[in-house]
Amino acid sequence: MNQQKKLLIIDDDPDFVEGIKSILDAANYSVDVAYNPKDGLNALQTMNYDMLLLDIMMGRGAEGIMIARKMRKDAKLRELPVLIITGIREQMAFLFPGEPVHPRFVEVDELVEKPVEPQFLLDKVSALLQAAEARKGKAG
């Protein structure tokens, strides 16, 4: 890795964040955290990140989806790879009687469900970062 990649996690669950942050820190990523959607969106707009890891159920409800949609409307943020990590099935189990979370409900790059295996998480992150670099290379 020639340059340390900057990631942002937007998730309101401090324990989960602590877990994935330590995994990503150990893999030599620079990780920032925002614990609510407002701070998260502020951070996205003021700083430059290489990737976003986003939770769904925050604040008043499914606010992660609102962030993903706002990002798609923003010319600068549209290119940023987004990995949704959600525990929505556990949080609202009665809405998912044995069915998967619908994968294409919002236009993001990838959706995985909590709990996440460390190696699986690292694979997804590096794959998305590489895909974003390839896209950039093509555009450039």
């Binding site: 309101d12 159920m57 925050m58 556990e90 809405l95």
Partner: protein, 187 residues
């Protein structure tokens, strides 16, 4: 960016879009507790619950029935001299405890909420006879009979539908919900 949030920070994060003031400024005047019509049935009054949140007593707060007994009358919110949205806080605690799956056993509130959401999902309308099953069996025989009599009278007068009502264009409605929540099995 930020250090690990405490329990009171977590609750503040849930209320990030609230129009009320942060609960940290509560001055413990007790106006909410004195105003609340459900306070006699609660483990802790709203005033005490706010103090417990500010003291980061997570386990005790989640184990209390206070926020499930909130009737959402908003009287506390209106009268709070610090302009804290206390009813909004009660809703936030309901969400928090349901998302974490940690709430006092034997409460009607969580099952009632679940049944309500499911009914809306299925038909677009709430249907009282189904909702009533979530709490009716916790009543004593006398109250049960009174409730059944009221329901029968309402049904005879056409105030309570016999069959669950459905809205028109249910498919569109379900698709709309699917855009807000990634429900399983949606197209």
């Amino acid at each position: 960016m930020a250090s690990k949030p405490t329990f009171s920070d977590e609750i503040a994060n849930l209320l990030h879009a609230s129009h009320g003031n942060p609960i940290k400024i509560c001055m413990q005047c007790g106006t909410c507790a004195g105003t609340c019509p459900s306070a006699p049935f609660m483990d802790h009054t709203p005033r005490r619950l706010i103090a417990m949140i500010n003291a980061n007593m997570k386990e005790e707060v989640l184990a209390s029935n206070t926020y499930w007994y909130c009737a959402s009358c908003y009287h506390c919110t209106v009268r709070c001299p610090c302009e804290i949205d206390i009813a909004g806080l009660m809703y936030a605690l309901k969400r928090y405890s349901m998302w974490k799956g940690q709430f006092k056993e034997g409460l009607i509130g969580p099952v009632f909420s679940e049944t309500f959401v499911k009914t809306i999902f299925r038909s677009g309308r709430s249907y009282e006879p189904i909702l009533a099953t979530t709490y009716l069996f916790t009543f004593g025989l006398q109250d049960f009979i009174t409730e059944a009599q009221t329901a029968t009278t309402m049904m005879l007068k056409g105030r309570l539908p016999l069959l669950p009502p459905r809205i028109k264009r249910l498919k569109n409605f379900r698709r709309m919900i699917g855009r807000v929540i990634p429900v399983g099995g949606l197209e």
